[in-house]
Amino acid sequence: MTVAESTHEHDAHGHHSPEAHVAHHFESPQQQFDSGKLGIWMFLITEVLFFSGMFCAYAIYRSLHPEIFIDAAKELNAMLGALNTVVLIVSSLTMAWAVRAAQLSQKKLLIVLLWITLALAGVFLGVKTVEYTTKFQHELYPGIYNHFAQEQYPTVADKYVSKENQASGGAEHATEAPAHGEEHSEEHGSTPATGEHEEHAHAEAGGHAHAEAGGHGHGGAQGVRNIHIFFGIYYMMTGIHAIHIIGGMGAIGWLIYRANKGEFSSEYFGPVDYVGLYWHLVDLIWIYLFPLLYLIH
């Protein structure tokens, strides 16, 4: 069944004739659609290769040091991960359905489905925020801000992290330290020049307050080296995935705006299709992240 066969009536919003959407350098709507389709697939290929770097780091450390992953994964909440998996699968369904709605010129349905997809993306990020917050309360920040890292590498911690920001087992510190950390991992390090070196000033080594930090109960990680590497990989993978979700939300919002104007119909639905493909890829990557990060024992 193809669009051309399945729809016979034109969309009511006739002022957008299909020709109006064909750029001057294309011969036909079909050529334009095929180009867009190939283009988005090529882009998805670059995304696959982009994420492959993190999967590579994961594979190497998991293969060489499985104990890091087994221990660290206890800190993660598998149920939240599963919940997010389901949320993304449902949003994938609504997105695929939205593409169908666009192809069949079902304008109202299209808008509703796009809104649902957008909302589910919001839910995903909400759950993610809950997860990150819990980690932060346990001082499980990325890198040297992580209390495991500070226990294992006190001299490095003294070099890069100011005394008052070092983990000391008290939850009240949890709200301070992440400020630098999260900014960098979430925003691609948009303010790189600042914050890099100012910590050096506090490098004088005093009492090792962090030495007792391992004693506060969670994650019996005593004796396992380099636990923080897991959190480095975890934050990079989920953080960059979350950035992709945010980007996808922007794209879906743009689709909703255009759908409201009645631009999509059986004769012109390319953008819905392309954004849909992107959204499915983001889902597809999460399908791998979920067992790799949450289901380890």
Binding site: V3, W41, V48, W97
Partner: protein, 123 residues
Amino acid sequence: MSDHAQPNDDSHDHGIHAHVMSMSTLFGTFAALLVLTGLTVAIYEIDFGAIDIWVAMGIATVKATLVAVYFMHLRYEKPFITLSFLFSLAFVALFISVSLMDAREYEPQVEALHNAQMQEAAE
């Protein structure tokens, strides 16, 4: 090929040839994905030992294939697109496998160095 695209011959002027997913396929895929997610979580408690990760990866791959083939219409696309996608996965495999092979090879040296440093620190 003139300045503006003109209505083509009659068979084409009703827009674009692209596959429309039927509702049953959409929901069938969706249901299968949910079941497989449940399965992954359910067998999480079972200890398969060393093949644990391969079981999990196998299920994930089935899910990913479902998403790609149905939600992403790969089944109905030109073979070129499917081939390109598989081709890119081959490069991912190349990247990971060669780096991993090398890292495993030199890991004993890294461990030896670490142990020597530990010993030095202890003395």
